[in-house]
Symmetry: D2
Subunit: 304 residues, 4 copies
């Protein structure tokens, strides 16, 4: 499939030439220090073929993309009972907004806004210690990617912890409505570490294959569950810019503040793109543009 | 394709046997009087095949489903300039909420909430009289459906007008932010009549073919525009239950308070379902259930 | 009481010397044209003594100050039943916000925010024509002021009408919750004209005497009603800057976007101040400063 | 002044006969266990006279009434610089709402809603340890009341701590906006203990004398500061029922969830009333009724 490689080459060149690369996240030093000149992209197929361009082998902090993996674990543990804890509607608010929690009795709208992700981590933990949950999570991601060399970046986790007061506020708010089963500080500890998972585009693209349902892809969940996680990524994966991503790219995706985006082309392939500079909505600027170019070139939008 | 017919038969039987049929919309007498026992469904293919079950030839008020047609006209007239007037994000609020307008300077979040639909009608009207716009709209729907026997129900339009104070409030709010180009009462007149379009499931399914992009379907807009309208239907087509519909059905859809839902299976077919009783979110209760059964039976979810 | 005159003289000089005079309201031409260099103040006692400084005999548009008079009429007509229609709590929002209406089923929080004032006008009108209500209102204000030369400025009323879409939005919102008994356009017509009452500081100070309860003041309502109107002015009279006015001045007051403020010193006197430039909260900048100087100089704060 | 005593006697009898005594706060066991049959009231004059009725010598948890004392300390420490940290406007929201914080960058609207009170405690602490701040606070209240027998109820403080997740959420939200100078848990520790101050009506009435400005009252702050604290109590002292209290009672007051209310009649006397059952707004039901009867009987409303 020389086609995909030539598309990636073209995208890589275009991105290299782009001057406005967005703004690197500033809220923790390990992210603020990342060089905005970087750009990488990888496309993985279930039959093992992998195409890439740019810094596709450079590790970056996947941040909120980890929410997809935790959601998979939580659904695996609770099944549909999970949805009594967390909703599945777009919030119409910023990723870290607390407004909706007050209006809806502390129940977060979906698993991808911060509050919902914290509640999802709480559910996925069951009553285990954070370290046991994290071990299981890392193991799950490694199995999905078929790569043992995936780790949590302790320095990033520690920085998150040090600046996590808004997430603490969200968590205590939910706790005040009896929405969490574990002690708040333990849930947050697990959550901050989960966000500090460090992966390359190649690893991330491979890990996303489980969501494609393509023949030969790792089957880590039922087709129904896979389908529904894709639906959630489409509806809520880019916070309050999810509509824009669906409009421009037309594929389920989940972004992270580290500049990565995981994109699923159901039945076809899994795509990971990374560039640390963010647009005004907090999603990777070049990553979004690259995803749009890729979707147009391949015609892979689920809506066409 | 006896398959589709047998699926429809099965759905028709299941729906007939369902006791809890939801609640028929009460806000205007012509809707409140509709018999909740009715259920119809039709599936149209681009090659002319059409399958149906139940009351698929009974006319009903398509209400908000008309917003899809008006959006098509507005985009045809303005192109991407349209998006300076209306956003494309889910609102996280009820279909008739005014909160978001106050927070975002009178710019509605998407073309399918009431405020956004009114702004879309205003854009589609250009500076024509309501009657000229309505003539164009009806002509467009007839062309899409390949059926001249499609009309606006004057009694329904008049009832909408008589009870439309909340829509008036939305429209004047936008006008106070200079968001409308036509006089408010003219925009509302056009909007109330547009919502009063009366169609059968068969007609509606055929009219939806233009959005499938299936070979042979009427081509009334560019592929890019078609794809994007589908994306908007997926993200915002069921108001604050769009996430739920995406999760359960996995296909772009647009519901109306009259109990109809238009569903697009890109590349495959167009589906219309109708049953007047609504669920708590204001969408057809049996319609949603039938759509879910259909998507599961066919495996047509765009996310699988 | 040469004391009051010398206080006013001192204030008048200080205000004349003030360079930052705020910004004159721009939303209608008749207000935008007013010369910001003007400042007037008058203090009326129940025994007939009247002290003044500056442009105290110049007419200005009293705008929202008229809400005090309409509230008096509405309470006169309905008694405590009025409070089933309108609340009496500060809103914590801008004077023209619609948010609270959506959260509280269309019932405005108090009679002084725009929505509440429109509902109050509706109540005061009973089922009379706008012109009859307005005749009664003007008569009431003239009686309170003991001055027949008080009129509605037709040009201002017409301008309000032409730019009143936000007030229309508020009114239709309330109508959609069955909160108004008269047709919306009639209520608004009455409301726009009421706001266009034109008075001088001297007239306004005299008209406010009825709220002082001082011996000899016109008794146009029961002591209990008078006391309660003062309480409402204190809590809600300056919209979302009521706390600031209470903190700095310590007297019940009602401001208008024309730059006027009516202030009541219970048991003592009635004060009117006017300067057209507004501060960031939409209240007269110099008027507020003058009121603060006056309250400090006299020690008349109700809280001391 | 047998007058006041006979008024209190009449109120005491009326309250004893009242069947609907409201609902005792349930959120912590020490409050939930309090007998709702109790009612006490005390009126203190600056010349030492003290009148009382009912359970005026029974200790109760003053809860949010303590916010008045902490505010006094914070203003004493910071002067007007305090107002850069906390606003002075009614919030239009429940006492524990977090909405306003999100809309206004973490700056609480006034010192009496929970968020504002936590910020006030933080300011009053300066950089001292909680125990030092609490020692100073208790000393201040004892000095105001002229009574050494005033203490913090450790069991109540501990219960507050155990159920304080919503307050934690508020505090961490403010911390995320750099609004607190002390570690969150220390501020909260101080806050929970401050709310657990235990006093009788007699002690509380005497402690309130400092706010009356009556000749002979303890002078613990400047007249200007005293006046302004009264203004804040009037505008914000009963959360989202402050308008109602001003309307019905017409005197500055501060309520607590323990069922107490401290009321100031400027220039005249200080009143404390207590009955543990709360009304729908979370203020003492009988306490409010008694305050209204007292204000009507004495004519002490500041608005008359």
């Amino acid at each position: 499939m020389t086609d995909v490689q030539s598309i990636l080459d073209r995208i890589g060149e275009a991105m290299q030439a782009t001057k406005d690369r967005g703004t690197v996240a500033q809220y923790i030093p390990p992210l603020a220090r990342v060089d905005p000149a970087q750009f990488g992209m990888a496309v993985a197929f279930a039959d093992g073929r992998l195409f890439s361009t740019g810094d596709a082998e450079t590790r970056f902090s996947i941040q909120s993309i980890s929410k997809v993996f935790t959601l998979s674990l939580a659904l695996g543990r609770l099944g549909d009972a999970f949805w009594s804890k967390v909703g599945r509607e777009p919030s119409g608010q910023a990723f870290n907004s607390i407004l909706q929690l007050e209006h809806e009795a502390g129940r977060p709208r979906n698993p991808f806004i911060n509050a919902g992700a914290i509640a999802t981590t709480d559910a996925a933990m069951a009553h285990h210690a954070p370290r046991d949950f994290l071990a299981e999570l890392v193991q799950f991601v490694r199995a999905a990617a078929g790569d043992e060399d995936i780790h949590i970046d302790a320095a990033v986790a520690q920085s998150e912890q040090a600046t996590g007061d808004l997430n603490r506020s969200l968590a205590y708010f939910m706790a005040s409505h009896q929405r969490l089963q574990n002690p708040v500080e333990q849930v947050l500890g697990a959550y901050f570490h989960q966000c500090a998972l460090s992966m390359t585009c190649v690893q991330l693209a491979r890990a996303g294959l489980m969501l494609t349902g393509a023949p030969g892809a790792p089957r880590l969940m039922s087709p129904a569950r896979r389908t529904r996680i894709n639906a959630l990524m489409m509806l809520c994966g880019h916070y309050d810019a999810s509509g824009d991503f669906a409009f421009r790219v037309g594929l389920p995706g989940k972004s992270g503040v580290g500049g990565g985006i995981l994109i699923v082309a159901p039945g076809k392939a899994s795509i990971a793109v990374w560039s640390p500079g963010l647009n005004a909505q907090g999603n990777s600027k070049l990553g979004t543009e690259a995803a749009e170019m890729f979707a147009q070139a391949t015609g892979w939008s689920v809506f066409s």
